[in-house]
């Protein structure tokens, strides 16, 4: 009967094989544990506390989704298949070892068919692993996608794991060559290789010598993997799942963590690694260097100094290099490069549009934006920003809008309506329309803003606006890192809102929408919904209250605004509306949760333009223009209108491709 035999064919010349096999592996494990402890303890000894232990069931579920099934990894075909082949083979090998240990020391069960199935599984995954390794090598050395770094440490890891697996296969095959059992076919890979051994015509004794040598080599290579794991790229097999397990559950993507505070309640600014939380440090150690975030990053594509991947790696390098010193000597450690400014440069931080594409892509759920904003807060605190941003913030502080215009003229666009647009501060309304800065003040957008009011009136909605009572909602103020100003704006707006009577807030601006919905104190809303206008109109479409009288018949494409789509999951409502106006919708290659950013978010619209290769908005226009027969790019965000109307001109697509706010289509079709 086939069965698993411990240490088959291993001579006792050096004493019992158990002794030195377990001795070597035990030693390697000790080294591994010790080094892991050193690395891991750095996180919590250096980093600030942060609660990430709650809701264990969700955390375990995420572990299954992201670390075991690896849905994020699989969302891209080639690298997905490649990685899953390696990873799942690795899981199977791990289980194989665990089962073998149970069999030999606790309950023997690897007999007969159980054993054969066990061996078959291991063998099949050996083949799958080799396939994955070939894909990996081809990708890294031949295809060489830009997002991957070509560093020796990857080669080391790849070679080592391949050597380990091939080593295991060789050991098995020599044994099969000696034993030549009739059930050898259950181990197809091993049996195939065994044929090679047999073909050499070597004697059983020679083969046994080879078997022993290879077995020992296999043992040593596994030990080497253990010992070098913390320094190698294989560390991610530990930190990746840890990061997934500890990923944030306490808030939606659209809510930033408030500014950290010191023990005495003063705002805390991130100046050194010590000011990051242990989870933020773990983020940096968890990065697999896969480069998916960098690939998706509009700032990187534009040629700015920002790469979300490099951001993580720079923090990691600093952590490993400076962490121990900081621990020993505290913040007084001289000569340690400043985290904000040196490890991560100002220009890197200011390049981010907070579009969330990196966060959406990262297979190990790294939270780039939170860390970025924490560091921006320090820049703002020190006044390290360009003069345009400075002026915008000063205007926001003084007038409540970035345009530097008086709040008294915020409602100027609303003049001349009959019936007049209600003042929601004085009358109760069903829908309180939070207009936002751009729609209120930008001369190029006032036409669209007026059309929005006309549509609302035609639909007979009971709505009103706050006139000069409204302030910028603060979404991007917060993301710029000016938390104090954000709090002031929230305070002003909530003071006004709390005195109004309304059933829902509606806005055309995804940025205002995001912060009102996700970040404003819940008592302001008191359970009442915040709606993007597309959601509201979509509801009316469903109930039949909204009916179109014209079919527009254009062929259009739609660009999801970051703060509507990726941040808040509103993908279908605008699409249903577009179709309802009688337009044909053609999707761009990057759509839905992968939609590319226009480049305006995170306060970038207030900053000086950087020297870039291609503006994100221009890249997007080209993407839209490349679609066959598309006449218009439809957007649902005032900032998008500004950015894309500019880009359609600078790229020279002006007459061919129009930029339309969906509201304009609705207005025309009504």
């Amino acid at each position: 009967m086939p069965e698993r035999v411990d240490f088959w064919g291993i001579p006792h010349t050096w004493g019992p094989p158990e002794l030195y096999a377990y001795g070597i592996m035990g030693l390697a494990s000790l080294v591994l544990l010790f080094r892991l402890y050193q690395a891991v303890s750095l996180w919590w000894r250096l980093g600030r506390a942060e609660k990430r232990w709650d809701q264990l069931h969700i955390r375990i579920w995420r572990l299954i989704q992201y670390a075991i099934v690896q849905v994020r990894v699989l969302s891209q075909r080639y690298p997905g298949i490649m990685h899953v082949a390696l990873a799942w083979a690795f899981f199977v090998f791990l289980w194989g070892t665990i089962l073998a240990t149970i069999h030999s020391h606790f309950i023997g069960f690897l007999y007969g068919h159980t054993y054969l199935v066990y061996k078959l599984a291991l063998d099949v995954f050996t083949a799958i692993f080799i396939g994955g390794a070939i894909l990996a090598a081809y990708r890294r050395y031949v295809l060489r996608p830009r997002r991957l770094t070509l560093a020796p440490r990857f080669t080391y890891s790849l070679v080592l794991i391949v050597v380990i697996v091939l080593g295991g296969l060789s050991v098995e095959s020599t044994r099969l060559a000696v034993e030549r059992p009739e059930w050898a076919w259950w181990m197809p890979a091993g049996w195939l290789v065994a044929q090679l051994w047999l073909a050499t015509g070597a004697s059983d004794a020679t083969l046994l010598d080879w078997h022993f040598g290879l077995w020992f080599f296999h043992l040593l290579s596994v030990a080497l993997l253990f010992v070098t794991l913390p320094q190698s790229t294989m560390l991610h097999v530990i930190t990746g799942p840890l990061n997934v397990f500890f990923s944030k559950l306490d808030r939606p993507m659209g809510r930033l963590a408030p500014q950290p505070q010191t023990a005495s309640g003063e705002p805390l600014f991130v100046t050194s690694l010590r000011d990051l939380t242990w989870k933020q440090l773990l983020d940096s150690e968890a990065c697999t260097e896969c480069g998916r975030c960098q690939d998706a990053c509009p700032a990187f594509a534009a040629g700015t100094p920002l790469s979300p991947k490099e951001l993580m790696l720079n923090i990691r390098t600093a952590l490993r290099r400076d962490g121990p010193q900081l621990l020993q000597r505290g913040n007084g450690a001289n000569g340690v490069p400043a985290l904000v400014g040196e490890v991560v440069q100002d220009a890197v931080l200011w390049s981010c549009t907070t579009c969330g594409a990196c966060v959406r892509e990262c297979p190990v759920l790294i939270e780039h934006i939170d860390t970025m904003v924490d560091m921006r807060r320090q820049l703002v605190n020190e006044g390290r920003m360009d003069s345009m941003l400075q002026e915008a913030l000063a205007n926001l502080g003084r007038y409540g809008n970035s345009f530097g215009q008086s709040e008294r003229v915020r409602g100027r666009w609303a003049q001349g309506f009959d019936p007049p647009i209600k003042d929601a501060r004085k009358e109760s309304v069903e829908y309180l329309w939070f207009v936002g800065d751009y729609a209120s003040y930008s001369a190029t957008l006032s036409d669209i803003t007026r059309k929005t009011a006309e549509v609302f009136q035609k639909l007979g909605l009971d709505f009103g606006i706050l006139y000069e009572g409204e302030r910028n909602a603060g979404n991007d103020v917060r993301r710029v890192g000016e938390e104090g100003l954000y709090e002031m704006l929230v305070h002003r707006n909530t003071a006004v809102l709390s005195r109004c009577s309304f059933k829902a807030i509606v806005t055309t601006d995804p940025h205002s929408y995001n912060t009102l919905k996700n970040e404003y104190p819940p008592e302001v809303l008191d359970g009442r919904p915040v709606l993007h206008y597309t959601e509201l109109l979509d509801q009316l479409l469903m109930t039949g209250a909204l009916k179109f009288s014209h079919r527009l018949g254009y062929t259009v494409t739609y660009s999801d605004p970051c703060y509507l789509g990726r941040y808040n999951g509103v993908y279908d409502a605008p699409r249903r509306l577009i179709l309802a106006t009688g337009c044909q919708l053609v999707e761009m290659p990057r759509c839905g949760d992968r939609a590319a950013c226009c480049g305006a978010g995170g306060g970038r619209i207030w900053m000086e333009e950087q020297a870039v290769q291609e503006r994100p908005s221009e890249a997007r226009i080209r993407e839209a223009a490349a679609l066959e027969g598309v006449q218009a790019l439809v957007v649902t965000c005032p900032k998008d209108v500004t950015m894309y109307r500019d880009a359609v001109k600078t790229t020279g697509y002006e007459p061919r491709l129009a930029v339309k706010e969906l509201m304009e289509l609705v207005h025309a079709a009504l």
Partner: protein
Amino acid sequence: MSQDIYVVIEHLRGQVADISYVLCAAARQLAAASGGQVVGVLLGHNVQGLAQDVAVDRLLVMDDPQLADFIPDRYQQALAGLLSAQAPRVTLFGDTSIGAELAGGLSVQLGWPLVSYCRSVRADDGRLLYISQLCGGKVMAEGEIPAPHALLAMVPGGFQAEQGKRTSPPPVETVASAAVGGRITLKQYIEPESGDVDISKEAILVSVGRGIQNADNIEMVQELAAALGGVVSASRPVVDQGWLPTTRLVGKSGKRVKPRLYLALGISGAPEHAEAITDSQTIIAVNTDASAPIFDIARYGTTLDLFDLVPALTEKVRQAKQ
């Protein structure tokens, strides 16, 4: 005490500043009402032959090596002596980096009231009135020029320099210098960096937008600018296309400008552009689209095609200059 109107002639490195003629023009108006003479005061060293065309009845020249360069305290002392002796009714200064600080210091030293930002003067029933522009020109203040003596610091806009010129040289009297100082000394002059023009400092800007269509058409606009004695600036699309250097960009991502004339050709007036030109004294817009927002901020406008207008205008400007 006299009814004379004194004008402190401003000059810098051998050149009479334009504002001096504006002052003379204003002074003439005042003198006509007060019944006094217009007296020019020229401080400097080796200034014979300078300011031969200022429209004054007499020119007092104080020539002193000490006054070779504008040193605030020396100039102030020299003027204080002269003015307290002559006691003119009104003394005019340019509201400039030379005149403004002299006028302020003298107001305290002589105890004579001072009116700044004065854009125009007029006489009403024998009373002399000032009209000053405050709040960046958003409000005008009018009132009597204090008697018996007053100092006026004037800004351009109310009078044309031409009105303050005369063809024959004025009679010149030399007066002794009373310059004392010593707490301020000149170390050196630093010349402006030669490089591209600084559009934020130009008085006449001919600005082009996308309406210009292509790089070749820029030349046409350059000719107009040259005829006017101004320079060409642009909106972003023009700069983005590389038709003009970034130094010429007006707007949010470019420069804020404050010329006396901003001629906007084929510019729609997007807020990113408009916000940077609101300090211009006069904006004239040429845009085929009558509803373009540029017309909301322009003082004058036309919906003519710029390609029709610009050549005609260049021609007319050239003719007018001859």
